[in-house]
């Protein structure tokens, strides 16, 4: 009876990692705070790409207060890699760079228009010459620069 009670206690308090490996979960298990047994998918996701041994080494090499963030970021990257096995989260970085380029280009153009309007509106009567200038400006195709031809090459 005592043996079964002890087994129940061990089973119910094992972290997801120790449960996965069917081993005893020690009180100082390095994984336990970050891989609770009610979320096994979290560990299987991270384990698929990094491996428990590598994760353990990474956690051991960093201060305790940073480990939770480290596990979260590993989990995020693993999920990205599941969704996109070729590029993983690096694809997100590429997209963000592209968005930044586009935004910078649009911002530069808008600021240039404001500068032009500033220069033309000071002491200028609303005549057809101003409207002609604006027609000329807005008649030009505002093509965005091609942000990336190929990412890797």
């Amino acid at each position: 009876m005592h043996r079964f009670h002890k087994l129940d206690k061990m089973t119910s308090t094992r972290c997801a990692v120790c449960k996965y490996f069917r081993r005893r979960c020690p009180p100082d298990c390095i994984f336990a705070p970050y891989f609770p047994n009610d979320n096994p998918q979290r560990f299987t996701c991270v384990h698929r790409f990094y491996g428990a041994s590598n994760i353990g080494k990474m956690l051991e090499e960093m201060p305790v207060q940073l480990r939770a963030d480290a596990v979260e970021s590993l989990y995020y990257e693993a999920k990205c890699r599941i969704q996109d096995p070729v590029y993983g989260c690096v694809g997100i970085i590429t997209s963000l760079h592209r968005q930044i380029q586009i935004a910078q280009s649009q911002l530069a153009k808008a600021q240039a228009e404001i500068s032009f309007l500033d220069a033309n509106f000071v002491g200028v009567e609303p005549t057809s010459s101003l409207s002609e200038s604006l027609v000329q400006q807005n008649g030009v195709e505002h093509d965005l620069d091609d942000p990336f031809s190929t990412w890797f090459y």
Binding site: F49, Y50, G51, S53, N54, M58, E61, M62, L66, D69, A70, E72, S73, L74, Y76, E77, K79, C80, R81, I82, Q83, D84, P85, V86, Y87, G88, C89, V90, G91, I92, I93, T94, S95, L96, H97, R98, Q99, I100, I102, A103, Q104, Q106, L107, K109, A110, Q111, E113, I114, L117, F121, P126, L130, S131, L134, V135, N138, H142, W151, F152, Y153
Partner: protein
């Protein structure tokens, strides 16, 4: 694409693992012996067997890109063991948000010019264009938790570790955009 599974020059992976580089070595095309650090990083973070499994699940024509992205992630993780690539994503997302706000404010100024100071007969200013992310269903990273819509959502709210992070994707092997970088956790990658 370098092939190193020749008799005289084992690939960086086999050199690192101290084994014979056989013809058909899965690592040889992607880990040339001239770039030992590339495999060293990938091995440290992912492990050789995990990389092998990943490559076996990917079409051959995509394997080089996959290896390069793994090498990129591994290098980022080596430089920043806590946040890895996610730190850069947070930083870049903040840049996008800042630029969008600036663009909105500038466009609002332009509209004010159009409404208040430009005579009504003038043409509409067609340069005002909000940022519309490209719709790419294969890149719905924002949906990795299965929720939300749109092309991209903000990554998890990690604390931003870099105050003045100069993001510069590493040009390792000449296969990445941007210039090379150096430095530790707070620096260029």
């Amino acid at each position: 694409m370098a092939s190193s599974s020749s008799y005289n020059s084992p690939c960086a992976a086999c050199k690192f693992l101290r084994r014979k580089c056989m013809p058909g070595c899965i690592f040889a095309p992607y880990f040339p012996p001239e770039e030992p650090q590339k495999f060293a990083n990938v091995h440290k973070i992912f492990g050789a067997s995990n990389v092998t499994k990943l490559l076996n699940d990917i079409m051959p024509h995509q394997r080089e890109d996959a290896v390069n992205s793994l090498a990129y992630e591994a290098e980022a993780r080596v430089r920043d063991p806590v946040y890895g690539c996610v730190g850069a994503i947070s930083f870049l997302q903040r840049q996008v948000d800042r630029l969008q706000k600036e663009l909105d404010a500038t466009n609002a100024d332009l509209i004010r010019y159009a409404c208040n100071e430009v005579p009504s007969g003038l043409p509409h200013l067609s340069s005002i264009q909000p940022i519309t992310p490209p719709q790419n269903p294969t890149r719905r990273f924002g949906d990795i938790d299965g929720g939300g819509g749109g092309f991209y959502q903000s990554p998890p709210s990690f604390p931003y570790p870099y105050a003045n992070y100069q993001w510069n994707p590493s040009n390792s092997g000449g296969n990445f955009g941007g210039g090379g970088g150096g430095g530790g956790g707070q620096g260029n990658i």
